[in-house]
């Protein structure tokens, strides 16, 4: 039986949804608005809602530190770590999804448990390792760290997707003469493309937003956008407008990516939950 929803109820729900969305989006909106204010306007009390639409902050931010260098560092680190993670995760998830052993669940839980450890607990040893191996403030060093940090999530997501693929089809490929890598490349991966795509997107976003390690293990050369933002919060006190301009620049690319791939992301996050 179809549920009858009255117009009034619909209106109420729509209004509620807009209010919740606005509350969630407000910090981002406020950051964007602030980035177009002068520093005086930014700290004015009571706060000014409509900025004077100056782009001075953006110019100053670009002069003080090169946005595009940080931007490309972020791209390298997030895309690089995601691709490496996928290369490792696809075979691991394949093994656990299609030839599970009594210990598979434990291995999966153990991987996930590493995400529960507070990162600051291993900061000092990690820092020393990075210093001694010359990985400090390098893009490749950060790429390795972010690969390792996100690997459990990538494996988990792929594992869930692979479990949806009938094992018969992989067996058919084996019977058709496909050796291991051909089975993965020609059959498993093409069938799992939607899942792999949303895993990739989510992981790029996670890596892009990762702030703890990227700030602590870089100085200037390899600093991605997260470090770029934080550099505006310290030396000469807080400059809200410039900080906001830097933040807006930093989140803009990922916001656009997220917007464009909304469908994939939602499908990816709810996959398996609604079947």
């Amino acid at each position: 039986m179809a549920r009858q929803v009255s117009t009034r109820r619909k209106l109420a729900f729509t209004a509620l949804a807009w209010i919740v969305a606005l509350i969630l989006f407000f910090p981002i909106l406020w950051t964007i608005l602030t980035s177009f204010k002068t520093e005086q306007e930014a700290i004015a009390s009571p706060p000014m809602i409509i900025p004077s639409w100056t782009i001075e902050n953006y110019i100053e931010v670009q002069i003080r530190s090169d946005y595009f260098r940080h931007f490309f560092n972020s791209v390298w680190i997030s895309v690089g770590s995601t691709l490496i993670a996928l290369l490792i995760a696809i075979p691991s998830a394949w093994a656990m999804a299609f030839t599970p052993t009594p210990r598979t669940k434990d291995v999966l839980m153990w991987m996930l448990s590493t995400k529960m450890m507070p990162a600051v607990g291993v900061l000092v040893p990690m820092y020393l390792i990075f210093r001694d191996t010359g990985a400090l403030d390098t893009v490749w060093g950060l790429t390795i760290v972010l690969t390792l940090i996100n690997l459990p999530i990538v494996i988990w997501m792929l594992y869930t997707y692979f479990r949806e693929i009938p094992v018969d089809i992989l067996e058919a490929a084996r019977m058709d003469g496909a050796i291991l890598w051909k089975e993965l490349v020609y059959v498993l991966v093409p069938m799992a493309v939607p899942g792999i795509a949303s895993t990739l997107l989510l992981n790029v976003i996670l890596a892009w937003n990762e702030a703890f390690w990227t700030i602590n293990l870089t100085a200037s050369k390899a600093a991605p956008l997260t470090a770029f933002i934080s550099s505006f919060s310290s030396p000469q006190g807080l400059f809200w407008a410039k900080l906001s301009a830097a933040s807006t620049l930093a989140i803009a690319p990922i916001l656009v990516l997220g917007w464009l791939s909304q469908k994939q992301l939602v499908r990816g996050l709810t996959f398996g939950a609604v079947k």
Binding site: P166, I169, A172, R174, M175, D176, G177, Y186, V187, M191
Partner: protein
Amino acid sequence: MGSITLEHVHKSFGGHPVIPDASLQIEDGEFVVFVGPSGCGKSTLLRLIAGLEDTTSGIIRLDGEDVTDQGPASRGLAMVFQSYALYPHMTVRQNIGFPLKMANTDKATAERKVADAARVLNLTDYLDRKPRELSGGQRQRVAIGRAIVRQPKAFLFDEPLSNLDAALRVNMRIEITELHQQLKTTMVYVTHDQVEAMTMADKIVVLNAGRIEQVGSPMELYRNPANKFVAGFIGSPRMNFLEGPAADKYRAATIGVRPEHMRISRESGEWAGRVGVAEHLGSDTFFHIHVDGAGMQTVRTEGEKDFAPGDPVWLSPDPSHIYRFDQSGLALR
């Protein structure tokens, strides 16, 4: 060539034996059917031959060569799965051509072979479609096409018809039999349907609880079942079994009479009973008779007979077709 030999093959899953000890010889070009109730290990046996499962112990030979430790890709066998297992992201053309691609066949040869297979299987018009755009029967044909293109040593069929509706099943049964007559390649076919086994096989292997109960031609198994299990499994409707005084008279623990060898009469006979359900098939009628002290027995009569439910009747066996079994169920000859 495609002879298959199993020597004392044993398989257990996590300590639980599924195939205790199976030895079997399949000759080149034979159509062999593994039949048995679900869970009897027939699919496992097929998967062991395919290489999709590893044997726990024992030897599997293809054309005399020990392939026990070889993976499925290198055994040169083709398999048709119950679920068809087509590659959903590939077209029919790519599906059928996949084994050739894996074997690095040159493009021109591959295209010719795919076209040939498609013609044989009436799939020419569907070559550029994806599997999801095909009907069940067409999908089954694609699966068969994928199996025949690379001329395997033997075909393995794992309950290939059980997802099709009854009419299509009969057609595909005939098509597969015809295919076997054309190709003359060894086929091993797994089914739980004894009608498929009887109609298609050169040789039937009856399995029960992982054990091979009997191996033989369909008529051999029908005429001379080695034990009560085979006698009950082969033949439709299934054989009637009578125990107690009825069997004592024939010096057996149990006697078996097929429904087609049971006579029904209003006047006289060996066992008295009452008519239960009648199933009218047009050409035949099956009567289920409640026999006093021996339970439900089935009689097959030709054409129409006018016994009504509740009518008192007499049953008597055709004396030349009484099967006798001892206490352990083995046939007495």
